[in-house]
């Protein structure tokens, strides 16, 4: 913690996600971004970070471990297969590790659902973009109804889906499905991912269908609008596009537009996971600071 009462933070991974995160963290009142680490000094992401006036390093995880004063918070924006090693090396330092890869290793966090779990873990998973966009709504509906089946269909614009994600389609599907099961308690879940080539690019979108005999528009719509407004407090571009209930089926589609920064408006998939990761870090910071405050008084 620094003198201004902010937590020290570092970003590991200088791809599209890492650089957008960097831009967003620089605006945080709770986080003091002290390092952006990649694995390749020639990476354009590291150059961009350096141009923003930030310290950069090309030693990957080693750059974060070999420091005198360990970071309070590290954002892992690398790949799923590398996360276990990062968690192992940082756990001994007491660092809070926020995982943006679909590794499924740490405690899954959906802030509107289990914010309280943040402080009791040191490796927290941001699940997936589709998980962050759907689980809050699905959780609210499942809590109030008897649900037999849930289906989540994500559509992302091809330009917003990098090589890592293209190679990890199975992990995306598996992680999203597991999160929906875990948070709703509904076992019969299907997750699907479509990549849209449309030009101009299609806005990031998640369509959800639930089957349950006690579903009505009067019971579902207020839950959906309530959760949407809660989400908008940290994901400004979250918007409900359709909400219908027919027979025993509820259908809800949402879109997320990016707030800008380093990514185009349609790339809400990148925006929602980054905005959520920062929100989680800030929740952690607020809890740490309030605890410190109590001790001092």
């Amino acid at each position: 913690m620094n003198a201004a009462g902010r937590l020290s933070a570092a970003v590991l991974g200088a791809g599209l996600i890492g650089i957008d995160l960097t831009t967003k963290i620089m605006r945080s009142d709770y986080l003091d971004l002290r390092l952006v680490a990649g694995r390749d000094a020639a990476n354009s992401g590291l150059w961009q970070a350096a141009r923003l006036g930030l310290p950069v390093a090309a030693g990957g995880i080693t750059s974060l471990v070999e420091v005198d004063d360990p970071f309070d918070v590290v954002f892992d924006a690398t790949v799923a297969s590398a996360h276990a090693e990062h968690a192992e090396k940082l756990s001994v330092l007491g660092t809070m590790l926020i995982d943006l890869t679909p590794s499924r290793l740490g405690q899954m966090i959906i802030p509107t659902v289990n914010r309280a779990d943040i402080c009791s873990h040191r490796d927290v998973s941001m699940v997936s973009c589709g998980g962050q966009a759907s689980v809050p709504i699905l959780h609210a509906i499942a809590k109030a109804h008897e649900i037999d089946y849930i289906e989540v269909v994500t559509t992302a614009a091809t330009l917003s889906v990098g090589r890592g994600t293209r190679l990890n389609l199975d992990e995306y599907v598996g992680t999203t499905k597991e999160a929906v099961r875990y948070f709703t308690g509904v076992n019969d879940v299907k997750a699907i991912l479509n990549i849209s080539p449309a030009r101009p690019p299609a806005t990031f979108r998640v369509a959800m269908t639930l089957i349950g005999q006690d579903l009505t528009l009067d019971s579902v719509l207020p839950l959906v609008t309530g959760v949407a407004s809660e989400l908008r407090s940290f994901v400004g571009g979250f918007d409900v596009k359709a909400c219908t209930v027919n027979d025993d089926k509820a259908f809800i589609s949402v879109e997320v537009t990016s707030s800008g920064d380093r990514i185009p408006k349609y790339a809400g998939n990148l925006d929602i996971i980054n905005a959520t990761a920062i929100h989680v870090a800030e929740c952690y910071a607020a809890d740490r600071l309030s605890m410190a405050g109590l001790k001092m008084s």
Binding site: D170, P197, A202, A207
Partner: protein, 352 residues
Amino acid sequence: MTEETSQDVVQGREIQIHDPSLRDGHHAVRHNLGADQLRAYAQAANAAGIPVVEVGHGNGLGASSLQVGRARLTDDEMLTVVREALTESKLGVFLLPGWATIDDIKNAIARGVDLIRIGVHCTEGDLAERHLGYLRDEGVDAHGVLLMSHMASPEKLAEECARLVGFGATGVGILDSSGHFLPSDVTERIAAMRAAVDVPVMFHGHNNLGMAVANSIAAAEAGADILDACARGFGAGAGNTQLEVLVPVLERLGYRTGIDLYRLLDAADLAERELMPAPPTIDSLSIVSGLAGVFSGFKNRVLDISAREGVDPRDVFFELGRRQAVAGQEDLIVDVALALRGARAEESHDGQ
């Protein structure tokens, strides 16, 4: 066949017929075929000497869902029944990355599948990289096929096919998922693909504009090695290339298919009798979906949702085309129908 063949230069060249009646036909009957139906047709196709018989949910392995319709049988039930029925023909399956995972592929291999087709939107070949790589390592015949191929230029399709081969595809092809092509479109595309790869090249036609057989012949003449066709054209919307028409037409042109004509006609008769309430026809909505360039498989969902929301299904198809909806994006239908209804309410309000 005994009929004398033409003196065409193509004389004797072999075309492999790939029959997805039990997969694509599922779109026409809401994925509702039962085990007896699958068995009966698979036995008839096997007896006719059709080289490859494909089975599954219309959108392939793991696709049974509310998004595109739930299948009556599980993937395992379908594969087991058809595997048992095929003593000569190869068993094929289809799948879309993002829908089916490598676990589904492992399961299909364990159940005796001979050929796996990985389908991706025509500009997104790299979505198949991992699945094709896995199948190459397993030594399983795996073809990479490009959906909605009217949405990309011949050069782009050729480039994607070359990438698919690089990932491990042992064959490549294009699907005219919307039935949008005219024969000259097919000629250009297949010729470009043929020049770009040295593995078998496939064409899969839909009949929305009445062009499926003509397009398939154009593909053969441009160098395609594999043609897809279904009994009575059993498939989404206006149906696919009609198998029992295509085969004798190819033979008259001098191509060899190795298929027995009478047994092929018997299989087609059985398909009409046992698999479908009526053979597909080019109805008005199928013409619209072909013109709009939207996947034919959307038809039943568009009809259902348009009726519910009180909008014209033709408007829905043209709007889906404008939004460049691709196969699998059925969730857009509700949004489009609601938007059209909203726009109409606004117009009538303005008129008051």
